[in-house]
């Protein structure tokens, strides 16, 4: 089996600052990864780099078994769906929902040629699946976080992504939007053989089909491997610099803080 994503000692620098440092990571086709890390740990950079929206400074990347070629970037973007409101919010604002979704067809960010009627009908069908067909003419910035997320998912599915990258897709969603996302991911995992890499802030809501975990800290990989080896009490206490106990649950992991309650309680005890 060809390794789908292979990064060897990849650095991503802006000026003197390292956004990513010495990233070595392999992903096999169909694997489901959870990426966990604090804000600013490099998660969004890693995902936007894989999806062909960001440059890397050095190291080597192989995608789909071939060395990364910048002239192939539009092809990569069609094969790798990126759903990241924090990335797209910088670029998309007043664009209409329908044009954003249609732009997923070609891997660019706008529409660049006349859209065929089949493409238009398909885009509308996808918008219906994600419950945003009524918002199709609205500018992106007027949508709720959950609706923006749905627009970007719909955009990713204008193509047939072999790799889906979800950047904190679960944060800032209301209850209904979160249920819909969970259902969507369950269907995606069951019906496709695609790879899924999801950044989350909620390790207590990890669906069963995720089997790998990647922890990031300060632009570096802190730990990677099977989820049960990564989501362990010792690893996380060290990673978070605070004592926590982790218990496996039916869906995800329960984090039990050890000691912080007492620390805060001191406020009222002195």
């Amino acid at each position: 089996m060809t390794t789908q994503i292979e990064l060897q000692h990849v650095n991503c620098k802006v000026g003197e600052k390292y956004l990513l440092r010495d990233i070595t990571w392999q992903v096999q086709p169909g694997e489901k990864w959870i990426v966990f890390g604090e804000n600013g740990s490099g998660k969004t950079t890693l995902l936007s780099l894989l999806a062909g929206y960001k440059r890397y400074s050095d190291g080597t990347i192989q995608l789909f078994g071939e060395p990364y070629q910048s002239e192939e970037v539009l092809r990569y973007r069609r094969r790798i769906g990126l759903v990241s409101t924090s990335f797209f919010n910088r670029i998309l604002c007043r664009e209409s929902v329908l044009s954003i979704v249609l732009s997923g067809q070609n891997g660019i960010l706008g529409i660049s040629e006349y859209i065929s009627n089949q493409e238009l009908l398909y885009a509308k069908k996808i918008l219906e699946v994600f419950h945003i067909e009524k918002k199709k003419d609205m500018p992106f910035y007027l949508l709720s976080k959950g609706e923006q997320q749905s627009v970007l998912l719909a955009r990713a599915f204008m193509g047939t992504p072999e790799i889906l990258l979800l950047d904190e897709a679960d944060s800032g969603l209301d209850y209904l939007a979160r249920i819909r996302l969970t259902d969507f991911l369950a269907a995606f995992a069951a019906e496709t053989k695609a790879t899924l890499i999801a950044v989350t802030h909620y390790p207590n809501e990890i669906p069963d089909f995720f089997e790998h975990g990647l922890l990031m800290k300060n632009g570096k990989i802190y730990q990677k491997g099977l989820l049960e080896d990564v989501f362990r009490t010792e690893v996380f206490s060290d990673f978070l610099n605070t004592p926590v106990e982790i218990q496996k649950q039916k869906n995800g992991y329960q984090f039990i803080s050890k000691g912080e309650v007492n620390r805060y309680a001191e406020l009222w005890r002195t």
Partner: protein, 147 residues
């Protein structure tokens, strides 16, 4: 867009005969994403609206604006901002007219395929003025380059 035609060249040509379907302003080619490839980083952009915009033929915008203003076309009653509301109405009608023109074979990626005869009723002073303005803009911006 023909496969042989470079995307950037296509965008350059398009910004000459098209305008923003929301505000009617001139489009420019702007870098919006990081990539080593120009193809993957530039888009047609309306600086007035601050958005990526494919545009419509300028003549279509002109008759559309007339239609929305004079006939009082309104399909976005739930939008509160009157400027946004008007722009979205114009964009919607411009989209419909463009769709019709393309599907009837009157228009393709390179613009109109047949000479236009716009009825006198639509060629009111304002529209003529706008045509002159476009021509002036076109001359000024002909040398615009990609960002």
């Amino acid at each position: 867009m023909t496969e042989q035609m470079n995307r950037i060249e296509y965008l350059r040509q398009r910004k000459q005969h098209c305008c923003c379907k929301y505000c009617g302003g001139l489009l420019e080619i702007r870098r919006v994403a990081f990539s080593e490839q120009d193809d993957a980083r530039v888009e047609l952009y309306c600086p007035r609206c601050g958005k990526i915009e494919f545009g419509v033929e300028k003549e279509i915008y002109a008759v559309t604006e007339y239609f929305v203003e004079e006939m009082g076309f309104q399909c976005y009653t739930d939008i509160e901002n009157p400027i946004l509301q008007k722009q979205m109405n114009i964009a919607k009608v411009a989209e419909i007219i463009s769709w019709g023109f393309v599907n009837l074979g009157y228009c393709d990626e390179n613009g109109f395929r047949y000479p236009l005869t716009i009825p006198d009723a639509l060629l009111h002073e304002e529209l003529n003025l706008k045509r002159d303005k476009w021509q002036a803009y076109k001359e000024v911006h002909d040398n615009d380059d990609t960002d």
